[in-house]
Symmetry: D2
Subunit: 282 residues, 4 copies
């Protein structure tokens, strides 16, 4: 499986998020504590927003832990919204086009988990993707397929509803092929302003997902912790596993939930229910 | 575009074919004379038959000219049937799964050329591929798509007819999308025993393709040329461009033709005509 | 051999320099007109100055022409001083640590050319490097060795004199090993403020090197050329070969010369003479 | 640190050794049990002897666990002597020239461990290498430096004595630089016929090393185990950690020891003592 982190807030150097924390994503690439695998060495990627509404991507097929380019770039990239992902392949090739995050126009998408039986149901899923979007599929992963299904079902207009419909379709097709638990996922997606995060699995035992407590509240809990004064008031993190041990800092996203972190601080957390292709909620 | 070579004959070291000739495929990776591009540096691949009926593959995304692994392996691999390919991408990513030759069971396939408008017609082509074969598509190239169309149309039973039908379908779908000249190709395919080679383009101006004169005849022409005495009687080469300048050694495959080189020396050369999807010959 | 370009001036997007010009460095990676080789596909690198006095590096072993990361980063990196280099190996391995530019503290260095007989004289050259600098040598090229010799001989205090002494040493050691023409080079080095460029070869037939005419003068020559109005008044380029055909834009650095481009516009051009290790000028 | 295995015996397919065992070297690349690190993902390499007295090498900078080329080649390479190594870098770059095994003429060398303080003492070690060997150093690791020191001290004529002198020199130079425990190592080297293995560390707490019990004895212990009947009588393995749990199969090489496995079955095991540069044994 994989690990990922998403940051939104004041403009910050990428290395503050990627390398400085005690149990940073780079550390998780070698020593994940909560992931399905301890090693996440099958490539990595970062996506970030600079001056343009379209984000930039840097991805490579080497493990993140010793990548000298990543370390160089992290010292230069200042951004108000960063996605970062380390990959543990579940079968598809280790190649740049299979590294997360995936991009479509101004949107980014990253995923931890798997569509089970993907080899067998891939064709049916592809047929469900909007033909005008189909040519833009670049790689061969289940994760990118899920992104394009969500785009097909209206990600740009209503992300939660689109993901519920995409997941509903995957479960429907999977079950018709005899797959008992067709999907396991934590997902993050963004339009460059808000971050939507999803935690769901068909079997109801999803991979971990956490969001950070608001910085103002954290400063009251830990008035002497210097790093909290370096962070802006709006800094928010959504992560596969906590980046450091700090009381009160991390809140687990409940099973079968989605949430949104907005630049204006107006967050939401809701339950997540896959939508049947016909339109009814399961 | 690309360059390729195919060898069939007595067991021979790969380096004899790949590195020794004056204008070897490795030399062509930097200095192609007849290709659409002089540089073919977007990865390479070799496929060969050893003791098993299924061929082995070695592919990499670096240019062939400085690849130290290729040089090492070429000094060890002895084979009676070798496919080798150097790539110049026409747009799809430089990744191992896009390097030729492609393999399905005991079959190999490699291609020089392009399906024009591939980005637009890819979905229609994919829909035409046998659903049971579809999951085995590994990369994202037009070349591999053509291979799977040929497999769909019976490559294993009747290679020339299957390729004629695959090309007919590509031309039909391409033209319906407004592509004037949908395909440009030289192709080689093998089951591990015979080599079928194809030269065709919709516009009737196909990339070059040559096959070598039989060794016995070559020895009469050049009785003192040592390399001809190292080659077995059955050695045959099919190449994008001649590997050395040698009078009488190379015969151009005519425009719109296919040929087969058989282990027993029983070769054939025929004209090639794309078959309409409905069944009629164009 | 290789090709390179150096830019100094107002803060500019890297893609303006690397991708936009008709005969950009990326184009030269496939189609060099004036280089020793037409293809420069053995890796590439860029070095640039951001907010910190120490420059950042991005280097990769793939050819530059199809590198998707380079294209992404070039759209994000804004810099007032950029070094970019495309490599054609003269024998040492294609690996990141052999890609230019090389860095030491706040200095960058890149080289086109070769130390001839390097394999034989490498040990003697290494012995001449300051033992306190020696451990920082990262790769195995002649180019990096020359950089460390120049650092040993005072690059930080007096770049032209240090390079003259480094080249003098290389020629002295080379000739004592029977190498007729020990060095061929164009070199650029910078401290993040000024750019020093060198053109020299033992045989007096050095690779080409050009510097751009000042922008004010160029605007008088070509008042309607839009790109000249996008460039700031202080923009200066030093390049292996011109980035576009434009009358009056490019001035050849004379044989056996060095020059310096300063941020304040106070440029210099002088003759270059290797200094004997003993101290006398040749 | 790293993990390695060496095989000598009847000609055997590489995949039998690399992929088939329950806790194969490939499995150890993700899940080492006894190594200093659980993950060994910083490149890998294999060296093997075919028809020529000079061995062939295949090395790559990707992790071994998902390398498709390694899997392909392992199904083709039949050899009577195989070295295989997975790397966990202790600081030097992840590049092919730093992957083990290293080769010199017909010799191979691989190492698990480190020369401590290598950055500081590298120059002194380099100076001790025979100047005629120096130019053949290809990479930048401590491991290759140790190989060239051993070559300098007569590896080809008397491997144990040469390694004792090389280690003695490293300890002497290290201690003069204030390094308390200058070396940690298990090493294997071969001339294509015998395999010498070394286990030593300055602190007397060396990484694990095991050799396999002779096959005849193993068959008496486990008469029904099929894999033992596939192995020839002369099959011997030397490994960083056991490839499977099997009673009586693995014998730990004692601390501060060296042993040799000979094709004729005439094995030896001795104590290892670094030799002072002056010639005296410590």
């Amino acid at each position: 499986m994989c690990r990922w982190m998403a940051y939104s807030g004041d403009s910050l150097l990428a290395e503050e998020m990627l390398f400085r924390p005690q149990h940073s994503l780079i550390d998780q690439s070698l020593h994940s504590r909560m992931g399905a695998t301890t090693t996440n060495g099958d490539g990595f990627g970062i996506g970030w927003y600079g001056d343009s509404p379209t984000p930039a991507l840097f991805k490579a097929i080497e493990p993140a832990w010793n990548d000298r380019n990543l370390r160089e770039l992290a010292s230069q990239i200042k951004t108000r919204l960063l996605f970062a992902h380390i990959r543990a392949s579940t079968g598809t090739p280790v190649q740049r086009s299979n590294c997360h995050p995936f991009r479509h126009d101004r949107w980014l998408w990253m995923h931890n988990g798997a569509i089970r039986g993907f080899h067998e149901i891939k064709r049916d899923l592809m047929l469900a993707i909007d033909p005008s979007l189909y040519p833009d599929i670049d790689g061969s992963t289940d994760s990118e397929t899920l992104f394009f299904l969500a785009l097909t079902f209206g990600l740009i207009d209503d992300p939660p509803r689109a993901v519920e419909r995409a997941v509903g379709l995957v479960e429907d097709i999977g079950r018709r092929h005899g797959v008992e638990h067709p999907i396991q996922m934590t997902v993050a997606t963004t339009d460059g302003s808000s971050i939507w995060a999803f935690r769901y699995s068909s079997e109801g035992r999803s991979r971990t997902l956490f969001y950070s407590t608001k910085v103002a509240a954290m400063r009251q809990l830990h008035p002497d912790l210097e790093v909290l004064h370096e962070l802006g008031d709006n800094a928010r993190l959504v992560v596969s596993e906590p980046l450091r041990d700090l009381e009160g800092a991390w809140n687990e996203v409940p099973e079968s939930s989605w949430g949104v972190v907005r630049a204006n601080g107006d967050d939401e957390l809701h339950s997540f229910a896959p939508a049947m292709p016909g339109g009814g909620v399961l």
